[in-house]
Symmetry: C2
Subunit: 213 residues, 2 copies
DNA sequence: GACTGTTCAGTGATAAAGTCACACAGAACC
DNA sequence: GGTTCTGTGTGACTTTATCACTGAACAGTC
């Protein structure tokens, strides 16, 4: 049964029709939800799990743009839906994900008949735009060592003690080269802040960086 | 009289009301349309001219995110309008600009009553998202010398022979440091591709870069 | 004209990050 | 066991960023 906050805003009649018109699906880790160039068949609502959205540029390098999780809307799909152009990025399931797809016709009807639905869509768009603007600034101006430590700290803050991730994947997260990550991690290991093993990073003593402005 | 393609999509009655509800304004070069933190009072439609949107990060550095020109919609404003949060970026008029502001109430009514208006808004959003994704990739992975030459070539392609711009402004365009631009421009001058003077860059012999993959 | 303050540009030194090339270790498969 | 593949470590080098400073070009004042 689909649980998504944007559905809660609908009136009874619309909600009933919507629930009847969508089907929820489960996707296992590693599954590619869509890839660059593909066309979009409907608007996915993420009910739970975690999906990363990344793009590969002309240079052949990849970078993770943002993640979608519980209660998110796949903003990228809206653009594809409206303009008819293919996706520019690809979406890869990280943790087992449940999602509902709103087909085009139903989406149009919801946009037409529910101001609350429209508001939800626009808010989602606004947040995504904000995220991307912040990412641009981060990529352009922040130091790699800081970005890496912040990324690891965010994971530590979620309670994760041991990460299963390769240096290459981490490089894609931050939009840099694998060697850069390897060297920075080695340095953190020397300082006793992480433990390294093949495909694993153990978060031991990450400390807040002091005054590195 | 406001000329904007999104108004053409409206039916006679809505268009009449819309034209009555908006007022067009002119802004001179250098004028700041909005700056970071400010709140948004309506949706600007750009009728003509050129506006650059740039943000300043925690690092204190600035980067130009995109430009708005004739027939554009200020997508950033929609997010602010819907979420009530302040702008994250600032908009600066480059060439004398004419714009019409659609007030909040009218915007809501148009979203409610015109599927074509909604489509226009969503398309505009999709394009902006695409632009930003491409920018992320460019900033993360492309070489500065190539980006600079491409930027100059784009101006040359518009027919501009002499640019009035400082090295610092150009650095903000590309999200780098002024010194980097100075050095790269000097190199281009040595190769006879540009002429340099205080506050001016003359585009003489820019040639396509050959196989710099 | 000379004097002053401001903005813009040039450049050396150094540090950080990206690129290239390759060695080697651990895991997986026969 | 051996072979293959993937992931990691590292040296050498290039590009970009940062810091510190110099001097040139311009505007305003006397």
């Amino acid at each position: 049964m689909a649980r998504h906050s944007i559905l809660d805003t609908l009136n009874d009649s619309l909600r009933k029709d919507t629930l009847a018109g969508i089907s929820t699906m489960r996707f296992p880790p590693g599954q590619v939800l869509f890839s660059a160039g593909e066309h979009c068949r409907g608007l996915p609502l993420v009910l739970g799990g975690s999906i990363k959205v990344q793009m590969t540029g002309l240079s052949g390098h990849s970078i993770v743009l943002y993640r979608m999780g519980s209660d998110d809307i796949c903003t990228l799909s809206i653009g594809c839906l409206m303009t008819g152009r293919g996706y520019r990025a690809e979406a890869i399931v990280e943790e087992e994900t449940e999602a509902a797809i709103i087909p085009r016709g139903l989406f149009d009807r919801l946009m037409d008949q529910s101001a609350e639905f429209r508001l939800g869509i626009m808010e989602s768009y606004g947040r995504r735009l904000d995220d991307l603007m912040l990412l641009v600034e981060e990529v352009a101006f922040h130091r790699m060592d800081e970005r890496l430590e912040e990324w690891l700290q965010a994971r530590a803050a979620q309670g994760q003690r041991t990460l299963t991730i390769t240096h290459q994947e981490l490089a894609t997260e931050l939009g840099t080269a694998r060697e850069v990550i390897s060297r920075l991690l080695k340095e953190l290991e020397r300082r006793g802040q992480v433990g390294l093993a093949r495909g694993k990073i153990e978060l031991t003593g990450l400390k807040k960086r002091s005054a590195t402005a």
